[in-house]
Symmetry: C2
Subunit: 152 residues, 2 copies
């Protein structure tokens, strides 16, 4: 796998992505399998809930965001391997027909003290809809190999 090594990342770097449209039927099928609640399954039932209309499961939004991130310009060598998240939120609902993209920003770059062959980068990834409104924000740490690991 090619891609960026720890030494190639710097604080403040940003990476964009392509776009994916949220399809109502796919979002409902995902919800039927993983998050079967009325506001994710059925337009009519959703109208009388907190969401006031059908909203994609947050976990569907997370999955779509991951797909955009994997295909984005971020491309750490060794792949996108999350060590954990410090924050994950959905500031507004995702609706069928929304077109999502992601923007990632590098917040920290930390070599590992105990394992010189790798380090962590802290990245804020924001998923935005077609109006430029944030629909998901997460701040996570990714494990990235060092160039000195011999991979390059």
């Amino acid at each position: 796998m090619s891609g960026r090594y720890l030494e190639d990342f710097t604080v403040g770097q940003t990476f964009g992505s392509g776009r994916l449209r949220i399809d109502a039927e796919r979002a409902k099928a995902f919800a039927a399998e993983f998050d079967p609640q009325p506001f994710h399954l059925d337009e009519e039932a959703a109208a009388n809930t907190l969401f006031r209309g059908l909203a994609a499961s947050g976990w569907y939004t997370a999955a779509v965001t991951m797909r955009l991130l994997v295909d984005s310009e971020l491309k750490p060598a060794g792949g996108i391997v999350g060590a954990g998240f410090e924050e994950l939120r959905w500031p507004r609902p995702v609706r069928p027909g929304d077109v999502l993209r992601v923007e990632s920003e590098v917040l920290e770059v930390r070599p590992s003290r105990s394992r010189p062959e790798q380090g962590l980068i802290k990245v804020r990834t924001t998923a935005l809809n077609q109006n430029g409104e944030a629909v998901q924000v997460f701040v996570g740490n990714l494990i990235v190999p060092s160039r000195t690991a011999g991979g390059a």
Copy 2:
């Protein structure tokens, strides 16, 4: 929707779930759609990665965990509606054949100052494999209606 209101939750309550087995083909199909990286797609390619064998995408684990949670005894009135997470991590890989269950514990119960009809509960949800090892931990805040909202 019936279920528990804010007044029905107390700090320290715990809730269990049923069990779901991780199927290799389903985990790979999920990865092909949302997280197409070698360590989630193909046993042979995965052997030479950080994961040393096929591992489910963390987002597949998150989705399966949500399904277990929706079907669990937690059952807030109005459904499981996440306001955001403070922590989400995957302490160890999920492998095909693993059998997952979740345990949730109520950490805080907070009425809303501005919206008396609802409040937040902070819940730690741990997904465990068949050996009782944690494979995912998240701490999140759920929006829960008050009984005084008139729903009961």
